[in-house]
Structure formats: C-alpha cells, structure tokens
C-alpha cells in the first residue's frame, strides 16, 4: 500500500546526502590499483621463432580469472601473442560456467580460428566440445586441466601437481638432512580438488626417502588469504615446534605468512607453491621463514601460444629432432630458492 517516502529535506538528511556524495567521489578514486611498475610477466623469455611466418588466428578460452594464477595465465597468453606479428588472438571472456564456456568455444569454432587453446573450467565437462573442434579440423591445445580423452586435443600442456609435491618433499628432505626426528607440516589447498590430493601424494612419496623426517600434521585451506591465515594459525597452535612447512599455494601463503608473523614463530623453514611474485620477493630478501617455492608456472599459457602458432604454421619445436609437436608436455615443477630466484622474478604473478 502506498505510504509516503521520507524525503531528504531535513538538515540531517542534507548533511547525510552531502557526506554520501563526498564519500562516493572519494571512494571512486580509490579503486585504482595502478602502482606504476606494472610489468607484464613472461616478457623476456626467447620466443620460439621470431621470423614471421604464415598468419595464424588463435582462439583462447579460459575460466574466469578470479585469482592471481589464472589472471597470470591470461596475461601470459595475451602478451605472448602480442610478440608475434603473425598471430591474431581471439580471446573470450573467462567463465566458470561450463555451459557458457562451451558456447564460447563453439563460437570460436564457427569463426573458423586456425588453432584453439582451451583451459577448461572443468576438463571432463568440456571434452565433447574439444572433440567437436578436432573433428572440424581445428587443432586444440589443451591447457592444464586435461580432457577426458586424447582425441579431444592435439597437444596437452600443463603443470605437474604430483611433481610439485615430490620436489617440495625432496627440497625439504635435503634441507633437514642429518636432523634426527625432524617434523614437517603441510598446509594443503582446497581438499575437494583432485590436484590437492596429487600434490599431497607426491609430497608424502618424497618424504619416504628421508627416514628422519616425519609429517606430523596437515590442514587444508581454500586457496584464499583468509583461509590460509585461519588454518595456519590453528596449525601453529597445534604444533609448538616443527622444522619445515610446505604450503601448496602462494596465494593462501600470504595469509599463512601473516599467521606465522602474528604467532611470532621463525624456527622453521617454509616452502611455497605456484610461484607468486610476493613469494619470489620474500625469498630474495631472505629475512623470513619462506626459503623456496615450487613452481606451477603460469608461463605455460605463453608456451601454449607458441605451440598453437607452430601447429598453425605446421612446424615442430626447435631443439627437438621430431618433425611434429609432441602430444603432451608436462612442465617441470622447478624449485625456486635464493640461488635462482632472479631468473624467475619476471614470471611471478600477483
């Protein structure tokens, strides 16, 4: 039923209104994140072949870039494509909705792009559309999250989750060599993801090689700063002393480091995961617990563009004897520590 609305005619109302407008104007200026030193990642690696060839149109479809790593994937792809005068990149709006991503890829197929690069929101769910593209004669480079069947891609390139855990475990094992009864804890990522299980499995397998090292606790965070802080705080309370920590993800590591700082603990060694810029910087400064991080490199998107271009121009990869591009490429999860951090600094993502 209609009832009169309270009009802003009172003095209080005017004051409030003015304050609101003022606050709005001030706030609008506060959304900027431009710090002036925004350098695109993966700029200084050598490109596959710099001599321009046949023009290639590459379609790129990825999930919504809602955290640092995925954002870096997009940037890497875009920047890499820009480097080639013979490459045109058709990039779709990222989406986490399977149906929407299928639609986007079908649009790219209809546009008759030469090669497709797809980082599916869900590998299994997007297998069919991968198959469709291949049948339409468009080679697909499947990025990271793998399709159900090799028929759905010409080439797969991605990270090695098991290898990440393995290398983190070996790094820690080596560092704790000679220390009897060494204790290790693990701060895992989102537990309902397959990749988290693989990382943990690799980590556990590596630690088996070091009988003096024992994993005493594991908690799963959610790849977010907030959850990293909360879970790490609990782990620190639960374990009054331990020698090493492996954190699956540098994003949640920001929170974990905050919790470590808040608890005033520095009597252990921490290894991160993924390869965020903030982690590289901390490793370089070497004044905290974070000594190394295991890569899950977003530069794979740049490599995927290289592969797509090579496929489009019917070339192989330089340095290999093969005429053809390999069917799959698993990237090495390198350990970045103080000794080699400068080399990787430019690939760090925010």
């Amino acid at each position: 039923m209609p009832q009169h609305t309270n009009r802003f005619t009172s003095r209080r109302g005017l004051l409030f209104g003015t304050a609101a407008v003022g606050a709005g104007a001030l706030l609008a200026g506060c959304t900027s994140n431009d710090s002036g030193d925004d350098e695109p990642a993966a700029n200084d690696q050598p490109a596959a072949s710099d001599s321009p060839g046949k023009p290639v149109t590459i379609g790129f479809a990825g999930p919504q870039a809602d955290h640092g790593w995925l954002n870096a994937i997009n940037d890497n792809a875009k920047n890499r494509a820009k480097k080639y005068s013979d490459v045109t990149l058709e990039i779709t709006e990222g989406s986490n909705d399977t149906a929407q991503q299928i639609g986007q890829i079908e649009t790219l197929i209809n546009k008759k792009v030469d090669v497709l690069v797809v980082l599916p929101a869900d590998g299994k769910a997007l297998t069919q559309v991968g198959l469709r593209a291949m049948r339409a004669g468009i080679p697909v480079v499947n990025l990271d999250r793998i399709f159900n069947t090799p028929q759905a891609y010409r080439c797969w390139i991605g990270g090695d989750n098991y290898g990440m855990g393995l290398n983190a475990g070996h790094y820690i094992g080596q560092k704790l060599k000679g220390k009897s009864n060494a204790k290790v804890i693990e701060l895992a990522g989102l537990d309902n993801l397959e990749l988290t299980k693989q990382r943990t499995k690799g980590f556990d397998d590596a630690l088996k090689n070091y009988p003096n090292v024992r994993k005493v606790a594991r908690q799963a965070a959610e790849f977010t700063v907030e959850s990293g802080q909360a879970k790490m705080a609990q782990l620190l309370q639960a374990q009054s002393s331990f020698d090493a920590l492996w954190n699956h993800d540098d994003d949640q590591g920001v929170g974990a480091l905050r919790a470590i700082d808040q608890a005033g603990r520095e009597d252990f060694l921490m290894v991160g995961g993924a390869g965020a810029l903030s982690a590289f910087q901390a490793i370089k400064q070497d004044n905290g617990v974070l000594k190394a991080t295991v890569l899950y490199p977003p530069t794979m998107a740049a490599s995927a563009i290289d592969l797509a271009r090579a496929l489009g121009q019917s070339k192989g990869i330089g340095g290999l004897a093969e005429f053809e591009i390999p069917a799959s490429l698993t990237l090495y999860s390198a350990v970045v520590d103080k000794t080699n951090v400068d080399q990787y600094m430019s690939t760090g993502f925010k």
Partner: protein, 506 residues
C-alpha cells in the same frame, strides 16, 4: 435401533491450547448412513473437533471408537485408512496441479510402485466427477483455473477417491449458489443411501432442517446437546442452546444527552475509493459512537481502513479536530490521534510472540524512551495502568499475548490506543472471536471510552451489535450509504431490509 454399535463414537474428548480449552469433554456418536449436523458459534470448538476426527490434532484425553473398537487417530493418514475423509472450509487443494493429480494426491495409481499412471488417474477421476454430477470438469485442467464451486467438487471427489465410510464437511455450502447447494444435497443423499455417514457443519439452520438427521450442539468446548432430532427441534431451542441465553446481547446505557453543539472530532468529506465505496460524508463528535452496518463486501472495512490511511483514497479527505490529514498515511492518522482495532486481530494487530506490555506500548514507544533508549519500568507501569483501566485479565501485562482469550486480546489492542492518547477509535468487528460473555464487558469499555470524550466509528456485521452500541447508524450497501438514522429509530428487521434490499429507495 439395531444393536449394532455406532460407526463412530467419541467420548470425553478434551483438547487444550495455550490459554484455551478448546474441547472440554465432548461426546459424539455417528451412525452409518446418517447426516449428523454439528452446530455452534465461532469458537465453540467445531473446528478443533473435526481436526481431531481427521487425525490432525491429538486429543489430550478421551476415547474414540470405530465400529465399536477403540482406535487412535495418530495422523491424517491413519484417519484416511479407517475411511474418514474431511473436506475443509478453506480448500486444501494444490492449485498448480491438475484435477486428477489433486484427487489422487498421496495415493496415485502407479506401475511398479513409482511410475504414475496418468491416464488411469484421469479415468477414475472422470468417473468420480460423473458420480458427483459434474462430468463437465476436465480432469486434466489445473485446479487453480476452476471456479470456487468446482474446486469444492474436486475436494469432494478427492474424499471419495478413498474407500470412505465417513465424510466430514465443514460449511460446504458457504461458497455455493442455490443450484449448487441442491446438487450438494443430492450427493449427500446418494452417499447416505450407500451407508456412508456424513458429519455436516453449517451455520444455516434451514439447511440442517432439509438434510440433517440428528444435531449435536457445541458451546464453549462442550457438547450441550447430543443427537437432537434435526427436523423437529424448534429453532428457538437450538439458538438457546448455542448462545446459552435467551437474551443475546447486553449493552451499556447510552448517555441521556447526546453530544451535540461541540466541534466535531472526526470529519470525513467526500471520501472515495474507486470500485470500493462511493463518496462518504461523516461527522463524529466527542463522546459519540457511530455505527456502519452492512454485509461483507459492502465496503465497511474498506472505509475504516481508508479513514485510517491504510488505503489511499481516490478523492476526499479526513480531518481530525478540523485539521486535514495527509491522505494514505497511517503514520499521519496515528499522529493525529486515530487508532484502529482491525478486523483480523491476529494478522493485523497483534505481535503474537510478544508480551501484553509490548503489544500495548508498540504505538507509544517514544513516550518511554529518550534518544531511542526504552525505560522499561515506565513502559511496564504505563501498560499496567492502561490494561487495568480496561480490566484486562490476567492482571499481569508480562504474560505472552497469545495466552489471552479473544476478548482480552481485543482489550490489549484498545489499551494500545488508550496509552497512545488516541481521540478517534475505529473498531472493525470488535467482538469477532470474543465469547458472548466477554462481549458485554467490551461494549461497556467502548461506551466508557466514548463517555470520556473519544469519537468511535464502529463496523460490525452483527446488526444487533451496531444498533445496541452506536448512537447513530449508517447503513451501507454496495459501497453506498443507503440510510442514516439514530440507532433508537431503527430495529434489526429494518436494517436487514435495507442491507439486503434491491434498491435503497423503498
């Protein structure tokens, strides 16, 4: 009478709700093949009794026998299994399902236990509808698209889709026109001829004479008469049993000198709401009670709510003490000193989870607060004073309002406006849901408030109430005032004639 036990017999059934004893030792027996009528005023316990019969309420004490064997109806399903079906007044159909789906809801014909055989359901529904004399209803149509009378038939078909021995019908004729009532009675006759028993609830005595065999009268949760012959018991006797007294209402005396000459307190000029009521002029002086008499749909509640600002008028205005109010604003009306005791007390006036105090103080919170901070002691004191002034029972404003009887809940609403210092009181059906005994007291309270200088506008569908309590009466018909007169110059027959008559000219 055959030595065979009655189909159903209930004895000593009691059922209490917080603050109310709804059933207080009720006995009832029903024979196969008879139409047993249940009579009683609002609140006498009829609905509670049929809910016990339907298995929807569990009685606190008492026994139920079905064909001589003691049974317990623990759920509506248990009642249905025995063969008891209930057709409620407010129809319990699912509007978005088809007729056939509604009829078979809960016992759909299936293949392999879960695949609904839609065609079989439609066929058996069509057969039931034919039996009920309504073959024109399409079993595939959505129930929501049917008129009310046909929905009633669907509800009945649903009852008959079970193997039914006893059907309870709660005021089935309320929504029907005369032709449909005839059809209903034919169906009832067919059913009883097949040996099915019918428990029939109605307010219309003439219907009970037409189809009833026996009558049980409920009053205040007790059966005051069990199994009277329906055709031969005199109406006078039945009414006396229902009301428990021969004189129906007791009203306070009117002041000897009616308030005149003073400035009017409430003035209504040309107030209109398109499609609801025509331009209305009305003046009430302090100390006066003015009554609006009319049937449901005559626009009386709409007028009250428009005066109160709860509905926005299309034209005209309302003034209190000579000052016009902002139209369509409840807050303006309340600020000017108007208070409303609405028709649906529970839905429109009361905060059922709260204490009496908070219900009384809700419109005057600023009086007990500084900077929004409530002085609870002052609030309690004021609420106590206001409820005492109206003799509200129990004399403890801290009890939850839901434990109060209807009459005392109504007093709490009046206390709210008393505390607010209101000058104009709008009463919409003030005695609905109030015991006959408590009514007299409520009438006295209203008269006393008027004597203290309030202007009262009263709406009631009970003509004697308007005539007995008001000083002046406006008779409404289809949104128009058809007659104005001092209450003394009118009697019930005259008002009823005016209300029902085709034209106001006669």
């Amino acid at each position: 009478m055959a030595p065979e036990p009655p189909l159903l017999s209930m004895s000593g059934i009691t059922k209490s709700f917080p603050g109310v004893r709804a059933l207080d030792g009720v006995d009832l027996d029903v024979q196969a093949g008879e139409v047993h009528c249940l009579l009683g005023q609002n609140g006498a316990g009829k609905s509670t009794l049929i809910k016990v019969l339907a298995g929807a309420h569990q009685p606190d004490t008492g026994r139920l026998r079905w064909r001589g064997e003691e049974v317990a109806l623990r759920s509506p399903i248990a009642a249905m299994r025995l063969g008891i079906a209930t057709i409620y007044q407010e129809l319990d159909l699912v509007e978005h399902l088809s007729v056939a789906e509604n009829v078979h809801l809960g016992h759909e014909p299936t293949t392999a236990g879960f695949v609904v055989r839609g065609k079989a359901a439609r066929q058996s529904t069509a057969a039931l509808l034919r039996r009920l004399g309504h073959p024109e209803i399409d079993p595939a149509r959505l129930v929501g698209e049917l008129p009310a009378a046909q929905q009633q038939i669907v509800s009945m078909a649903r009852a008959l889709s079970h193997d039914v021995r006893l059907i309870v019908m709660d005021e089935p004729s309320a929504a029907l026109d005369p032709d449909e009532v005839d059809n209903l009675f034919r169906i009832v006759g067919d059913l009883t001829a097949e040996g099915v028993a019918v428990v029939y609830i109605s307010h219309r005595l003439e219907e009970i004479r037409r189809i009833g065999d026996r009558v049980t009268v409920l009053k205040d949760g007790r059966a005051v008469a069990v199994g009277l012959p329906a055709k031969s018991t005199p109406t006078r006797e039945v009414v006396a049993l229902m009301t428990g007294r021969n004189v129906e209402y007791v009203f306070p005396e009117r002041p000897t000198a009616p308030a005149q000459g003073e400035e009017p307190l409430l003035e209504v000029q040309g107030l209109t709401r398109q499609g609801e009521f025509e331009p209305l002029d009305l003046v009430i002086h302090p100390g006066e009670i003015v009554g609006l008499a009319g049937l449901v749909g005559s626009g009386r509640s709409e007028i009250l709510e428009t005066v109160y600002g709860a509905r926005k008028p299309t034209a005209g205005h309302v003034s209190v003490n000579g000052r016009p109010l902002k139209p369509g604003s409840v807050r303006a009306a309340v600020r000017a000193g108007i208070g409303l005791a609405p028709e649906e007390r529970k839905a429109q006036a009361l905060l059922m989870l709260e204490s009496v105090t908070r219900n009384v103080s809700v419109s005057s919170m600023s009086r007990f607060s500084r900077a929004g901070w409530i002085d609870r002691r002052a609030e309690l004191g004021a609420a106590r004073a206001a409820t005492r002034e109206l003799s509200l029972r129990p004399d403890n404003p801290s009890v939850p309002i839901r434990t109060l009887s209807g009459g005392n809940q109504q007093k709490a609403v009046l206390a709210r406006w008393l505390l607010r210092g209101c000058r104009v009181l709008l009463l919409d059906e003030p005695t609905r849901g109030v015991d006959v005994g408590a009514r007299a007291e409520l009438y006295a309270v209203v008269r006393r408030l008027a004597d203290e200088g309030l202007a009262v506008l009263l709406v009631s569908s009970e003509v004697p109430e308007v005539l007995g309590l008001a000083d002046r009466v406006l008779v409404l018909r289809e949104g128009r005032v058809v007659h104005r007169a001092p209450a003394r110059e009118l009697d019930e027959h005259r008002v009823l004639d005016l209300v029902m008559e085709g034209s106001p000219a006669t």
